[in-house]
Subunit: 279 residues, 4 copies
C-alpha cells in the first residue's frame, strides 16, 4: 500500500485491502532494504545460521539467549511468546509462568488448548487427566471439568478474580496484566470464552501484538508459530524451539531471517533458560 500524502509504503494483508488503496503491482522500481546485520554483538543471532540440527551445544545457546533477553530489559524491547500445548504436557508450565513473573513476556499468543491444559494443571495437577508429577492417568474428566469451571466463571480472568485460579501461566498473565490472544481452531474443545473463534479476527489481533515486537520466542507450536512467522517483518529476532527438526526448518524455509532454530525439548529447555534468567 502506498500513501503518497504520508510519504510511506507498507504491507497489508489481502483481506484488509480496501477499494481505492494504491497498491504496488509487480517488482519494477521497487528497492528492498534489508536490515543490516551488525558484524558484532548480535550474540546468539550471530553465531547461528540457517542449518538446523539437533546436534548443537544447547546449554551454551541457552546462556546466550538468556543474555540477549536480559539485555533487552534495559532497552525496552518487546518479547512475544508463541506457545503450544506441549509446554504443559512436558511439564514446562511452571517455568513459562516464572518467565512471565520475571517480566520476560510482554505478550502471549496461543490457542484454546494451552489455556485449557494450563488451567487443568493448576486446578487438578493433571494435563488431559495425566498426573504431571508421575505420568499416571488420574482422571480424564479433569479436562472437561476444567472447561466447565471456566465457562461457569464466565472467563479465565473471572476465574482468577474469584480466587479459584491461583497459579500457572494464565494466572501470571492476568496478574501481571500481560496481554494474550487465543486463536480458535477446529480442534478446540469448549472453547474457553477468551478464544477468538473467527480466524480473520484472530489474525488481526495477533498482528496487533507482533507489530512492534523485538523478539518472538516460539515454543513447541506449529500452527500458531507459522501464523506468526507470516506476519513478522525481517527486523524481528526469532527464537524457535521444537523437538521436531521439520518444524524448525519449515520456519526458516519461509525466509524468516534472524532466526535461531533450536531442535530441543521444550520440557528441558525452559527449566534451563529460567535457571539462567534467574542468575
Amino acid at each position: 500500500i502506498v500513501e503518497p500524502e504520508k510519504h510511506r509504503a507498507y504491507c497489508k494483508p489481502i483481506s484488509a485491502v480496501k477499494k481505492g488503496d494504491l497498491i504496488v503491482v509487480g517488482q519494477r522500481g521497487v528497492r528492498v532494504k534489508h536490515p543490516e546485520r551488525p558484524r558484532e554483538g548480535l550474540g546468539v543471532f550471530e553465531f547461528m545460521n540457517s542449518d538446523v540440527s539437533p546436534e548443537k551445544p544447547v546449554t551454551s545457546l541457552i546462556r546466550e539467549i538468556a543474555r540477549s533477553l536480559k539485555e533487552r530489559a534495559g532497552n525496552g524491547g518487546k518479547i512475544v511468546v508463541v506457545a503450544g500445548p506441549a509446554v504443559i504436557h512436558t511439564g514446562a508450565a511452571p517455568y513459562l509462568a516464572r518467565m512471565i513473573e520475571l517480566g520476560y513476556v510482554d505478550s502471549l499468543l496461543s490457542g484454546n488448548a494451552l489455556a485449557v491444559h494450563d488451567i487443568e494443571s493448576a486446578l487438578y495437577g493433571t494435563s488431559l487427566g495425566v498426573d504431571l508429577e508421575n505420568s499416571r492417568v488420574v482422571n480424564p474428566r479433569n479436562h472437561i471439568a476444567t472447561i466447565n469451571q471456566v465457562l461457569k466463571a464466565g472467563s479465565i480472568k473471572e476465574l482468577v478474580r474469584n480466587g479459584k485460579l491461583t497459579k500457572g501461566i494464565f494466572y501470571q498473565l492476568i496478574k501481571h496484566d500481560v496481554p494474550f490472544v487465543l486463536a480458535g481452531s477446529i480442534r478446540d474443545d469448549g472453547p474457553l470464552p477468551e478464544v477468538v473463534k473467527c480466524s480473520n479476527e484472530a489474525q488481526r489481533l495477533y498482528r496487533e501484538q507482533v507489530k512492534d515486537a523485538d523478539f518472538v520466542i516460539m515454543l513447541a507450536s506449529t500452527l500458531h508459530s507459522i501464523a506468526v512467522g507470516n506476519m513478522l517483518s525481517s527486523r524481528v529476532k526469532i527464537i524457535c524451539v521444537d523437538i521436531n527438526p521439520a518444524v524448525v526448518t519449515k520456519l526458516s524455509d519461509r525466509g524468516t531471517s534472524q532466526a535461531v532454530g533450536i531442535v530441543t525439548d521444550v520440557g528441558t529447555f525452559l527449566p534451563l533458560l529460567v535457571n539462567e534468567l534467574e542468575k
Copy 2:
C-alpha cells in the same frame, strides 16, 4: 445426552449443549459397548495394530487398503478424506484428483491452504511459486495471483463454472458434486470465499460430514486430522498417512481404534494407491 422419550443416548459437543438437556454425569451405571472386532475378513485393519513404525511393508499395505476401498464400493460405504497441503507440495495432487474422479472420495475436509495450492498448481503449474515438475522457483507471486483469481470469480465453484479452473482436486470435487468443507485457521492467506472462518461453525460442518462415515483417510494433515479424530465414533475405520511418526502416533494416542497408521510419504503413497485402485 439422554432422550428418554426416544430411547436413545448419544454424545454432544459441549458447545452444543442446551439448557434442559439430560446429561449423564460420572460413570456409574453406564455400560460401554465396543464395536466387535470380527475375527476375519477385516483386511488391512486386522493385521495392523497400534505400533507405528516406518519399517512396515508398504506396498502390501497399499494393496490391502485398495482392496478395502474397492469392497466398500459395492456396499455403499462413505469415504471421507482429510488432506493437508503437503499433498500438493509433494506432487500428489493429480493422484488425489484421480481418486475423486474414480469415485473413491465422498467428502473432503481440509483448509484454505490445500485449495489455494491446488488451484495455483492447476492454473500455473506451481505450488507456492515452485514448479512442481522441476522444483525450481518460478514465480512466488502465483500464490497471491491465485487468491486474487478466486476472489474475482467470487468462489472456487464460480471459477470452475466460468471455465477457468479445469483440473485438479477442487475441479474434480465440484465437477462430481462431492461436498467439501474448508476450515479457516489463523495461518490463512486470503482466505478463499469457501473457507469457514468461525471455528465453531467449521467444527459443526466437519461433524456433519463425518457422522455417517465408514472410512476416514487422513493424508499428511495434522491440524484437521486431529480435529476429525476427536469427532469420530469407534466404529469408523481410519487410515492415517504421514511421514512424521509423531503425528501418526498422536492419533492413536487419543484412543482412536481401528486405525491403520502408515509412516510413509504421501507423495509416493498416493501414486501407488491410485495404481492399485485402477487395476
Copy 3:
C-alpha cells in the same frame, strides 16, 4: 600425500599413512579445485539444492533420477548402492532386486542385517519373522533359521550355487556377478560368512568400491551411508533417500556436494523408481 616423481597429490586415510610419505601440512600454498557445476543438463542435480524438506514433488524427482540413471548406462558410469535393512522391512527388496537385474547396480555396500533379512524373505517370505505380505508375525525363529542355513552352506554364494536361494537382492547380485561388501558391526546376529568383521578392513574394501563411482545411491542406511559419505570425492553424485530428515541433513552437513537428499519412504520410492526405469 604428495608423490613428486609421479606429479600427483591425493588423500589417504590416516590408518593407511606409511613412514616416509610426504604429507601436506596446513593450508598454505594449497589450491582446491572444485568440480565445475555445469549450468545446464545436470538434470536432477541441478534443481535440488541443500535444503532438505519432505515437501518436495517426489514423483517428478523420481522421473529425473530415472533419466539420470538411464543416461549413464550409455556412458559407462558406475552406480554404487548403499542400502539399509529398512529396504527389506518396507517390502522394497523385490524392487532393489529388479534394479540389479536391469543392470542399474554395479556394486552394493551394506552390512549383515540386509543380507540376513533379504535371505529370510527369499526363503520364508518373512523379515524378522514378520510376513511381508500381511505384516503378521509368523515365526520369529525364521531369522535364526536363515543364519543357520547360510552357515551350513558355508556362504551366501554357496547357497545360491546349491540352488537353495533363488530370488531376492543377494541372489541377483551373485547371479549377475555384481560385487558386494558387507561390513560387520557390533549389532550383528551371526554374522554371515561374507561379513567383514574388522572395521579397518571393511573400510578398505568399501573404499575400493567407491573410488571410481559416478553415482552413489543411499537407501535408508545411516551407518553405512555416513561411512561412504566420508570416502567420496566431491566429483561423485549422491542420491540419498531416507524417511528421517535428520539423516538426510546430516549427510549434507558434512559438506558432501552434488547431493540430492529426498525425505521419503524407501518402501514407496523404489517401486516408483523401478516403474520409471522399466518404461
Copy 4:
C-alpha cells in the same frame, strides 16, 4: 544351552556355540519365567509404559530417574552407560563427566567417535572443529590433530598419564578406573588405539560389561544401543534417551521390557539430571 550336570540353562550367541553343546530346539517343554513386576516401589519404571511420546512431563521423569539412581548407590547396583557422539556435540560432555566423577557410571560402552570428540573438546574446546561455547567453526583440523595426539601418546590412557588430557569423559573414566569398551565401526576416523576393530570381539567385550548390569542408560546412541539392547536379559532396567522418537520406539519394538523411553534432547537432559543427582 543346557548344561545338565550344572543344572542350568542359558543363552549363548550363535557365534559362541561349540560342537557338542546341548541346545534346546523349538519351544516345546520350555517354560519362560518373566521377572515379576513389583506392584509398588518401582519408581520411574512403574509409571512409564511402552507408549513413546515427546509429550511427557520430563522434569518429573528426571527427578524419578535421579531417585532410582541414588537408591541403587546403597544397594550396589551396576550402571552401564551407552553413549553416542551427540553427547559431545550438544555440549553435554561435562555433565556425563560429572556423573562419572559422582560415581554413577560403572561402565561405558561406545565407539570411536565419542572418544575422539570428547578428547578434542577437552584439548581444543571444539567438537569437529566447532567451538562448543559459541557454535562457530574454529578449526576443522582439530579433529585430525586430536587423533594424531592420541596415536602419538600410544593410547587414551597414556594421554591421561602424561598429563595432556586433564578433563572430560575419558579423563574421568581413566582417573576413576571405570572400564570402557569402544567398538569399531566402518565410519571411524583413526581409529584410536583403544578401539576394538573386530565386531565379534567388540560384541564379546560389550556382553561382558552388561551381563551383570542392573541399569543401562542409553544416551543418543542408535548403533551401540541396539547392539546392547540385543544382549540384555529382561531383568535389566533400561533408560533410553533420544531426540528421535523412532530410535526410542525401535528399542521397545524389540521387546526390551522394563524400559523407560524418553524423547528428549540429551543436551538438556544431562544438565538437569546431574543437577538432581547433586542435590
